[in-house]
Subunit: 536 residues, 2 copies
């Protein structure tokens, strides 16, 4: 089996670390048997249907001809299985065919999908974002028109933000929307880096597109969000949106990354005029958490592959897993995966609980820390494979290539760090973070120095000049992720009384938590330290 | 210009950090003008001839047909230019056409080659290993027969160690050598991962092959080294050695990685019977230092690309280099490159000085630390490019893919850590390391904690059980690299009185040296901490 859903680890992270059952009052029908059945069902789909297509999809890639994108062989059957299993709508509104289950559970399901096949996982992930945006910002008729088909997986969704001239700065986008007599808008412009922007797996593709209505104010306050279906709602005719190019990427080859041309395409405003960014943030927040999960997921896949290689591969007389350094790498992988998983799940539990400040605080940490774990762990996976790790046939290389996108898209990890500082920490003057610091402080022991470091770092971020704070924001996020990840593991160990998990926590404390004082030094480096002559 | 040789940084590392001019008594003809002329000449070749082939070579790759490997377009002309410039023999014996210059200078030249085109650089790097092995272990007639052609670059060299069943464990290799009446041996067996094992750029390929003479003792004490030319010396006829496969790799696509089949090929013993490993270590040591340099070199190329992107790319109104986090990434890249470069150059200066214990101590550090820098810095380069970093067209992705091999070949970085501990530290009971610790201790200030940490870690490594020491060996190497790299930068700053370099050193101290105490905690984690049930 190339991948086995790590149900025990997932349950530990979900139930013991992330306190999943605190949701019971909100989800009274949910019991342990249902939880297990769902995780195992998702695991089977991932193991039997999605994982076998991972390497073949990487090799086959996708192709574009006359504006039509063809997915890799086997992806249609896999998508049909995903759709028929009802997996897309796990956490969606039952009024439109969803199952109304916690997002934390849907996230755990997506973990298995991403682990098995990251390219595939992006398709339901983007659809999920579209569902949430329409659930929260759509008018009643829009919900009626789109939600059921999206939730069933018959249709898929996309997010169209980036334009060629504007990467992360949405304020300068130029795609325009011209009001039409029938209440629709004619959308014209070009969008790049559109994941699954065009493909042949779903019957329709619902594009959510940021554009500027004629005469709207300049900057980010003049941006609106539009629904642009590939096939028009009125008559099923082909809308004036086309894929005009595919990116040649380092990884996720089976996921088409499209350049989309809108040429007076029929679009429908969703939410209020000029309030598009707020609606887009709904999608982005869900997507950010999912991308963090994706980082952890590809790390899990890399770990499993490396572990099984280390237990099979002999160097002369001994198995390579008997080398302490190989064990050290495996322990590092496992410990960081488990901490990253706990952070992602805890973020989703906070969302399900309506604990918005914790959700908001943890989202950029889940995204950036989880995806950094993805890159680091998949690199260790390559290393354990030795020469076979660099050779594509070995399989470890693909995880490494695939994982590298995750720190970039849905807002680079640098942007997550700015968000953690500017929106989250400054937003509540460090209050939500303060609860984690207090909890760590109460632990004492291995948390004594880390909690002090995080406390001092938080104070620094709140009081330093904006430039100095921004110079330390990435290190601050890393420190916060390391401490909170450790806290969640400690919660789990406390609940579960499992000596194996205790051993993993102790290793995490000795190698990750121990870094806290030097992270604090990095946080405080100051903007003045970052001025070399050659930067001018 | 896609790459510009960083002559000022190279001179700083060579002259101010690595004390190049301490070699003057040994190389009396060498003066500053010659040094500059050589670096600039190499720089021009790298910039104008090699760098323009880097991306095209990545895309074209190499091909195998009927046992013949064809290099990527343009590589023949580039190799001719390299050959005609006399670059291969810079440090080689003048008796055979070499220029007898310091190896440190030859290493600096190779830096520019590796930066410009890592795939290309592997060819002269392997030839260099063959030259050194024959210079040191060859008989007089072998030197006459091979050295001149290798030093001129007319012929190239290879190292044939690995076999399919034995990665890093050479003791179990099975390629056999049967004595023939004419004093030669018939070599039969298969070797894998042979870099530039077959190609069309040189007139002959001199394979240095580890094999076992019939009736030799088992294990590593029964291994001998043989010279197996692609075309026989006697009559120029084709020898019975063939490339039977090319690896499909994540990177260095323009460098053929060959599976070589020896089918009773004519080989000549070099050095004493059953003493092949000692001779091979000569090649390996030179190659290890060169691979460390390669890591730093590809990092330099990635840095230059990221810096120029950050100075051109606008996000809305501002250049992305004006973001503190982008500056932080660039500073990290530059600081680690400069420290890694200093370590590599200092290793070569130690070799040129005949300071064997320092050379031996620094070689595994140069290899592992330099190549870890390569992976980390090229990853930051991808990150600075954002979405363009993941797209192959952007160019940053190739550096990231190419760099990933360096921590693996010529002995994985885990093996370097074992070497640092088992052969180097235990070999002199920490004496050579002690001199660096004393120097750091005398600095005080930002070196106070790092020197204490390195001292305690060294004591631990010398007194812990073998398994406990091995569990901490990788962290120990990282700590040693961080402290020694910092020391060399401090030496340079002390000599050069350059405020820009002082700023870079201060950043290094705040972000890298500050990590020393937590490295010590990692060193002391102990083998007992690395035992999970699932590892059994």
């Amino acid at each position: 089996m190339p991948y086995t859903a790590p149900i025990a680890d997932m349950r530990f992270a979900l139930e013991a670390c992330a306190d999943f059952w605190s949701l019971r009052p909100r989800y009274q029908d949910l019991d342990e048997d249902t939880l297990i059945a769902i995780l195992e069902g998702a695991g089977s789909l991932a193991e039997e249907t999605l994982a076998p297509l991972n390497r073949s999809g990487d090799r086959a890639g996708v192709s574009l001809k006359d504006g039509n994108v063809t997915a890799a062989p086997g992806f249609q059957e896999a998508y049909n299985a995903f759709k028929q299993g009802g997996w897309q709508g796990l956490a969606a509104d039952p009024a439109y065919g969803g199952q109304g289950l916690p997002r934390a559970l849907a996230l755990a399901v997506m973990e298995t999908v991403h682990s098995a096949n990251m390219s595939f996982g992006l398709l339901p992930m983007l659809t999920l974002g579209a569902i949430e945006a329409i659930e929260q910002h759509g008018a009643a008729d829009q919900k009626l028109l789109y939600l059921e088909k999206l939730i069933s997986g018959e249709w898929s969704g996309t997010m169209n933000l980036t334009e060629p001239q504007a990467g992360s700065d949405l304020g300068v986008l130029t795609t325009k929307a011209v009001p039409q007599a029938d209440g629709s808008y004619a959308i014209t412009g070009q969008k790049i880096f559109i994941t699954w922007g065009e493909h042949d797996l779903a019957d329709n593709i619902i594009h959510l597109v940021l554009a500027r209505i004629e005469s709207a104010p300049a900057g980010s306050k003049g941006i609106s969000l539009f629904i642009v279906p590939k096939f028009r709602d009125e008559d099923g005719s082909r809308n004036a949106v086309r894929c005009i190019g595919l990116e040649e990427k380092m990884g996720i080859h089976a996921s088409p990354t499209c350049t989309m041309a809108y040429d007076g395409a029929t679009g429908w405003l969703i939410g209020a005029e000029n309030r598009g960014l707020a609606a887009m943030f709904t999608m982005m927040n869900a997507a950010r958490l999912n991308v963090g999960m994706e980082g952890v997921s590809v790390a899990e896949a890399a770990y499993q592959k490396a572990l099984s290689y280390a237990k099979e591969r002999r160097q002369g007389g001994a198995l390579i897993i008997d080398h302490p350094d190989v064990r050290r790498m495996l322990m590092t992988m496992k410990a960081k995966i488990q901490a990253g998983r706990a952070i992602c799940y805890a973020t989703a539990v906070a969302a399900d609980s309506g604990n918005k400040r914790v959700e908001d605080l943890l989202t950029p940490i889940a995204k950036a820390w989880g995806t950094d774990v993805g890159v680091e762990v998949t690199s260790l996976g390559v290393q354990i494979h030795g020469g076979m790790g660099f050779v594509e046939e070995g399989g470890a290389a693909q995880f490494y290539r695939d994982a590298r996108i995750a720190p970039i898209y849905e807002g680079t990890n640098g942007i997550q760090a700015i968000d953690l500082y500017g929106r989250k920490l400054l937003g509540d003057r460090g209050e939500a973070m303060g609860h984690f610091i207090d909890e760590a402080h109460k632990h004492g022991g291995v948390f004594a120095k880390p909690s002090d470091a995080l406390k001092e770092a938080t104070h620094y971020m709140l009081t330093a000049s904006r430039d100095d704070a921004l110079a330390g924001a990435t290190a601050y996020l890393a420190l916060a992720g390391e401490v909170i990840g450790g806290l969640l593991l400690a919660r789990g160990v406390h609940r579960a009384h499992d000596p194996e998990r205790k051993k993993l926590f102790d290793f995490y404390a000795a190698t990750v938590l121990a870094r806290a004082p030097s992270r604090l030094a990095e946080v405080k480096v100051g903007a003045g330290a970052l001025k070399l002559g050659e930067f001018a």
